[in-house]
């Protein structure tokens, strides 16, 4: 076990406070049996690694470089918690991540990204992820933003899932203003692999949401689902591009996008389906519209105001 504790207690407490204020649970970062990493700006505030995990981390001028390896055959019992935050109003946080789930390993990672005070903060993440043969890697990222809309979140990921590997990822950004989200994930799925990409985003004001997710099913019997749920209001704009390519026999992919708009918001959904193997199959569905009138009227007939009803329906869709 390798534990790092620097004298950054004030900043650590501030990060904890910001996370808990936004509804997160900071107690996990103090649990010795839970692997974790807390980064504020370019400072590593705490790190804990447990058996089966190798966590290399290095502070850079504007962020951190992280290498996380789950060793061959290890099934990590508790989720690994990562916290990336930026407390000042302005600045850049560049996170470079390399994650490797070695053969037959299994891990769930939970990332908490908190930007409570941002007026002009850029949070960039460049990730390289490899899920080896028969390994399982789940990565869920939840963002907690302030109400200023001053964050630019730019996550890019290149993912390779090898034979029999399973990769699940989710990004949830429904707390506070989005600001700018420019997500670009690229996944290559090998033989008998399973991949699922989920995004849930709630945009308001002048938020700008761009989601591009591409899955290339290159291995026989590879399977994937790309699911996106976006709700936007006011003058927010959203564009979802879901690309799934079926290149191998019996590969199956599905793209599913639902966008709900209110006010002057504008949404665009672009499902792109490419198949060059006659035994592969890729399907898609996309729906953009306002909140379902019957759902709203049903909740109003139980005593809710129209705005309360719409809130519940939108939150339900994004849960």
């Amino acid at each position: 076990m390798d534990v790092i504790k620097l004298d950054v207690s004030d900043e650590f407490e501030a990060m904890e406070g910001a996370l808990e204020l936004a509804g997160g649970d900071a107690s996990v970062f103090k649990m010795p049996h839970v692997s974790s990493l807390v980064v504020s700006g370019n400072r590593i505030l705490s790190a804990n690694q447990t058996e089966g995990i190798v966590l290399e981390k290095r502070s850079t001028g504007s962020g951190v470089d992280i290498e996380l390896t789950i060793k061959k055959g290890y099934k990590i019992p508790d989720p690994v918690h990562l916290c990336f935050g930026f407390l000042p109003k302005e600045g850049l946080q560049q996170i470079n991540v390399s994650m490797v789930a070695e053969e037959d390993s299994s891990v769930q990672l939970v990332a908490h990204c908190t930007f409570p005070n941002s007026e002009h903060v850029i949070h960039k993440m460049d990730a390289s992820i490899v899920v080896h043969k028969n390994a399982f890697l789940k990565y869920d990222e939840t963002h907690f933003h302030g109400e200023q809309g001053g964050v630019e979140v730019i996550p890019k990921a290149k993912v390779v899932v090898m034979e029999g590997g399973r990769y699940f990822t989710g990004l949830t950004l429904i707390s506070g203003r989005v600001g700018l989200l420019d997500l670009d994930y690229d996944v290559e799925a090998g033989k008998d692999s399973v991949c699922e990409l989920n995004t849930k985003v709630h945009g308001k004001g002048t938020d700008n949401i761009k989601i591009r997710e591409r899955i290339s099913l290159i291995g026989e019997n590879a399977r994937s689902v790309t699911k996106s749920r976006v709700a936007i209001a006011d003058n927010a704009v959203a564009e979802f591009t879901g690309i799934t390519e079926g290149h191998a026999p019996h590969a199956f992919g599905h793209v599913d996008c639902v966008e709900v708009i209110q006010g002057n918001a504008v949404a665009c959904a672009i499902p792109i389906v490419k198949v060059d193997n006659p035994l592969a199959k890729v399907t898609h569905e996309a729906a953009i519209g306002s909140v379902d009138k019957k759902e709203v009227e049903t909740l109003m007939a139980r005593g809710l105001e129209e705005s309360e009803a719409v809130d519940i329906i939108v939150k339900g869709m994004l849960m």
Binding site: D292, K293, K294, E297, T298, I313, K315, G316, L318
Partner: protein, 227 residues
């Protein structure tokens, strides 16, 4: 709709029967105040108060609610939260209330409270959950549009039990139905045809008249005669 004159008494089960296209569901929507169902003329009173200009929410706050023939789907909304919305109006959001409501529609609370009211449930299950949400609301007037649709015939008895439960707890119930059994369980029934309530009275008599003596062309003549 034209010439509709209908009165539902306190704690009364009142059925509205009639052929398809008679305007029965339109009547239900109009009473609930749904968008696009505002009357061109005429007035709706509830407990002596003119409610024609009131919104759906304002009507619901007075105790009026509606159960749809085809209930809405709510992605991500748990049954527990859905039932709690109605229960809040009755100031009675307890685990016991929610469980009791589900048991009334023959659904196990252990199996359903934490499930989503979404497409994962069958139409019949969603229908039962909607009826449970009406029970938790303890309404003063429950308007039920075809409460048995999507529920198997064997369960018709449960629907009738649920309607009687509402009455016993002080609710008036206006039921839109095609079922003789539900009409027969009512205190009074009204027959609607071509947008008009043509007859109100004993439910068995009205039901028999509709079943045995009434043909579409006769009904038209009947209403034109102004009876």
């Amino acid at each position: 709709m034209r010439g509709v004159n209908l009165e539902v008494a306190d704690s009364e089960i009142h059925s509205v029967i009639g052929p398809n296209g008679a305007g029965k569901s339109t009547l239900a929507y109009l009473l609930m105040g749904l968008e696009g169902y505002e009357p061109d003329e005429g007035e709706i009173y509830f407990n002596g108060e003119l409610i024609t200009p009131l919104s759906i929410t304002e009507r619901a706050k007075r105790g009026i609610t509606l159960g749809w023939q085809e209930p809405a789907r709510f992605e991500g909304l748990k049954v527990r939260d859905y039932l709690s919305i109605g229960a809040r109006r009755a100031n009675n959001v307890s685990e016991e209330t929610l469980c009791h409501a589900l048991e009334m529609v023959n659904l196990s609370p252990a199996l359903y409270l934490d499930r989503e009211v979404s497409e994962a449930l069958s139409g019949g299950e969603r229908k039962r959950i909607e009826l449970a949400s009406i029970i938790t609301m303890e309404p003063r007037l429950a308007i039920l549009d075809e409460p048995d649709s999507g529920i198997d015939v064997l369960s018709l008895k449960e629907v009738i039990t649920m309607i009687r439960h509402l009455k016993k707890n002080g609710s008036s119930v206006l039921v839109i139905t095609h079922r003789e059994e539900i009409a027969a369980a009512s205190d009074r029934a009204s027959l609607m045809c071509d947008g008009v309530v043509v007859r109100t009275g004993d439910p068995v008599e009205i039901s028999n008249f509709f079943k045995n003596e009434c043909k579409p062309c006769d009904m038209k003549a009947y209403t034109l005669k102004g009876e």
